[in-house]
């Protein structure tokens, strides 16, 4: 489980996150929604230990990433907002290297590599260098890297951006299987139908705050909207309009 309690963060005096609190339970898919600049990426980076919160506390599987970043990274799989691939490495070299960095070796390593290769259908790419891969292929390899050490927590920053239908289907299938296996999954996205279909819980962020939370159906009912997109607009932009009015 990931627990976030009252975190705040600012850059150059500009607040990006304000007293943010939420939980990402095990065996659940939690979606983080927000307009550009809402603070989603900063929030995810704090969970990974790449940024430090100014106030509050984060616990990933009971470990504080600010105090023990390496401990958190062992039980975390992350797919960032860009894939972070190395174009001069083959897929197998890339996955082998990152699996070993996570401490895998011997039979466990072999089994982990075979498992991600099969699950993410990487056979045809396995021995190819990654330069020139399509967006879908890049995302598959990046996801394989995040999953190869079988993390208990998975964080994905806009994972479906630029993917074709087949790649989205594969991603969806993988996430559902991981949920069944007990993984706590947190992902940010702008694609509402996908969020509605995949997520158990939705967190709506605006101006660095959580302005709505609950199951997709609950949020739709709460805002009296017809679908999740309308509900998101009402929560995120309604909040923004309200804050602007308060300032005036």
């Amino acid at each position: 489980m990931i627990q976030v309690q009252g975190i705040s963060k600012s850059f150059a005096g500009q607040p990006v996150l304000r007293d943010l609190s939420f939980e990402v339970p095990d065996a659940r898919i939690t979606a983080l929604l927000g307009a550009n600049g809402a603070g989603k990426t900063s929030c995810l980076r704090i969970l990974c230990g790449l940024l430090r919160a100014e106030t509050g506390q984060v616990l990933v599987g009971g470990i504080d990433p600010a105090r023990e970043p390496q401990g958190v990274r062992r039980q975390l799989g992350v797919v960032g907002d860009r894939e972070g691939l190395y174009e001069r490495l083959t897929v197998v070299e890339y996955l082998d290297i990152f699996a070993r960095m996570q401490g895998l070796s011997g039979a466990a390593l072999k089994s982990a590599l075979a498992s991600v290769c099969e699950e993410l259908e990487l056979q045809s790419l396995w021995r190819r260098r990654m330069g020139g891969f399509s967006q879908g292929e890049r995302m598959k390899v990046s996801l394989a890297r995040a999953l190869v050490h079988r993390p208990k927590h998975l964080i994905l920053d806009e994972p479906t951006r630029g993917l074709d239908v087949l790649a989205v289907r594969l991603l969806r299938r993988t996430l559902l299987r991981l949920r069944s296996a007990g993984t706590a999954i947190l992902f940010s996205s702008h694609v509402m139908p996908e969020v509605a279909e995949l997520s158990d819980r939705v967190l709506v962020m605006s101006q660095g705050r959580i302005v709505g939370r609950g199951a997709p159906d609950e949020l739709i009912a709460e805002t009296g909207s017809e679908n999740l997109e309308d509900s998101f607009v009402a929560l995120a932009y309604g909040e923004r309009t309200r804050m602007a009015e308060e300032v005036v």
Partner: protein, 400 residues
């Protein structure tokens, strides 16, 4: 018990670092552009030195001063005595000095109309030397001709005085002889003086592309963020990157040394009075000496590139950085600073001195080399720690 636990932890850290090292080396050594740059520069400068010295010798051997003498019939002895090695004297009946200078003659010597009669009457007949000072070789040719004429003049004076019973010693209170006491290795040092600086420059140039790619490049491609998400300490990431970058710089420098030593027998060093004095142990020592410096250069380049705003910015900054040490070394050379004592502990400065000595077969103090290398390695450790700190900067992440 605590010691065993510490050792196990250190072993685990090392085990986790090995795949990172593999990644960095694969990335660096598969970068064709960086390899071509490293190899090209490493081989180019020894080839330039070999070619340059051969050209110099050839030019020197073929250097003949062509002198046209107008009115030479008036002074046949003069024309005859001027001819000799390095001088091609052509006696012409007529011609215009300016046009003759444009026809391949460096000098035109004009003998006056009444030279013969005035010479006999001891009336100091004039000789006119025409020279085109815009021609680069004219100065040397003019000096040579003046020297020859002065020697000839001295001979004539001596003969005239002897004929009148005057002892020539009266006119020559001393006899000047110039003796060159330089050793072959010292003359070699003069010719090879630029080599240490170029070897150090090779460390920078050969590793530049890789250092930018592995730091500013990774940052721009956001793969650095992926790396920072692994359970590795920041110093391990910097160390792995430094080793990969240094491997290219060091290889470049080793290739340069090897090429230089292999090309030396083909260079006309003997004709310059230089004997090849670089020993095998000297070559081996040079290679070892350059290793800590390669590490320092690599980590400094990575540090600077990490501080840059973009890939392009990093390239610009590192291009300036690679010129800086050469300027420093040249400035020290020009200022003729005595580089003894504590200078031997200063990286770059000490390396330049040691390389210079080893190239010409001089003995270099082993304790001094060990102490200097230890100081260089200490600088490497400090730079790695600074690099690790830089990796922890939040501003390193793109959106931050």
């Amino acid at each position: 018990m605590r010691g065993a636990k510490g050792n196990a932890k250190a072993m685990l850290q090392l085990k986790l670092m090995l795949p990172l090292l593999r990644k960095e080396f694969l990335e660096a050594w598969r970068d064709r552009r960086a390899l071509i740059m490293a190899v090209s520069f490493a081989l180019l400068f020894p080839a330039m030195i070999a070619g340059g010295s051969t050209f110099m010798i050839k030019k020197k051997a073929e250097e003949v001063t062509r002198v046209a003498v107008l009115g030479g019939a008036q002074a046949p002895l003069l024309t005859e005595k001027l001819d000799g090695p390095g001088f091609e004297v052509v006696s012409l009946d007529d011609g215009e000095p300016r046009s003759l200078l444009g026809q391949g003659y460096q000098l035109v010597l004009v003998v006056g109309d009444e030279f013969d009669q005035r010479y006999r009457d001891f009336l100091a007949p004039p000789l006119y030397v025409y020279v085109d000072s815009s021609n680069t070789s004219s100065g040397r040719a003019q000096r040579q001709l003046q020297d020859r004429l002065a020697a000839l003049q001295q001979l004539v004076v001596t003969q005239r005085l002897v004929a009148r019973g005057v002892a020539t010693q009266v006119l020559a209170p001393w006899k000047l002889e110039v003796r060159d006491v330089s050793t072959p290795s010292a003359r070699g040092a003069l010719l090879l003086a630029m080599v240490p600086g170029l070897l150090i420059l090779t460390l920078f140039v050969a590793s530049l592309a890789t250092s930018v790619d592995t730091s500013a490049g990774e940052r721009e491609r956001l793969s650095l963020e992926t790396l920072l998400l692994q359970p590795l300490a920041a110093w391990q990431i910097i160390t792995a990157k430094m080793l990969a970058v240094a491997s290219l710089g060091w290889l470049g420098a080793l290739m340069s040394i090897t090429a230089l030593v292999l090309l030396m027998p083909l260079m006309p060093l003997a004709e310059l009075g230089i004997q090849q004095a670089t020993t095998l142990s000297g070559v081996f020592t040079m290679g070892l000496l350059l290793l800590p410096l390669a590490l320092l250069v690599a980590v400094l380049q990575i540090l600077l590139a990490l501080r840059s705003q973009s890939f392009k910015d990093a390239q610009t900054q590192l291009s300036i950085l690679q010129i800086a040490p050469l300027v420093l070394l040249m400035a020290l050379d020009m200022a003729q600073v005595s580089l003894e004592g504590s200078w031997q502990l200063v990286p770059l400065v000490s390396h330049q001195q040691w390389l210079k000595d080893l190239l010409v077969g001089e003995v270099v103090s082993v304790p001094a080399m060990l102490a200097g290398s230890a100081v260089t390695l200490l600088c490497v450790v400090a730079a790695v720690l600074l690099g690790a700190k830089a990796l922890r900067r939040e501003s390193l992440l793109s959106a931050a």
